[in-house]
């Protein structure tokens, strides 16, 4: 596949997430998708995203850096948001945090089939420590 085409598909996927257009998710995500080694399938993947948005209503995906070499896409995603309660096991409780996620995608045909994601939890911990508790 052409890398320009794969980049367009990926950016459309991110737009789909930002629009909370869950019914369109199957256009971008394979029915047997795996996330960090877990076989979620499309329904489980959708549930994961819906839970993220429930915990972080102002979640917005910004592509900070994109590296495309078919069949893979690597993205550095940037977040600036206010999780309502706990996030990644941390008591964020409505404080504003900024963090990144470095994530790889393996595409099968035109859909995301495998995801390997790492969220920068240490950066969030440092911000929470700096802002204090209570």
């Amino acid at each position: 596949m052409d890398s320009g085409r794969l980049e367009r598909i990926y950016r459309d996927y991110i737009a789909c997430l930002n629009a909370r257009d869950w019914d369109a998710l199957g256009r971008f995500v394979d029915g047997a998708v795996e996330h960090n080694g877990m076989a979620l399938g499309l329904a489980g993947y959708r549930r994961m995203l819906e839970q993220d948005v429930a915990a972080i209503p102002d979640l917005h995906y910004v592509v900070g850096l994109l590296v495309v070499q078919p069949p893979h896409v690597a993205a550095r995603l940037l977040f600036d948001c206010t999780p309502e309660g706990r996030f990644l096991g941390l008591a964020v409780d409505g404080r504003r945090i900024r963090f990144s996620e470095n994530v790889f995608y393996g595409f099968a045909q035109d859909r995301i089939a495998r995801v390997w994601s790492v969220v920068d939890k240490a950066a969030i911990e440092a911000q929470l420590a700096a802002s204090g508790h209570g």
Copy 2:
């Protein structure tokens, strides 16, 4: 730059790290390199790597996934090692851990000029919790 050539340079860089060949680091790393937004320079970058190896003598870099689109390289690095004391603020104390690092590199000419790295700290925490303490 050709992506095949950039991949070879990157794999030579990883071989340099695994050989602890610090005197060769300047062939791969720009004199003004930045790491996660910090202007380390070559000397500071070398110091960071030397400290990593001092804390984790059996540190070995394995490239699990590589995505190359000049001037960027994205790598998922896999580690299986036994940090002696604390690592990322966690009391690992010689236990064996496996984790990944998803990292992006921006090259200037043939050298690494910017690095954006995220280590999977949550995975390490989960392993330490499973293995118990003391």
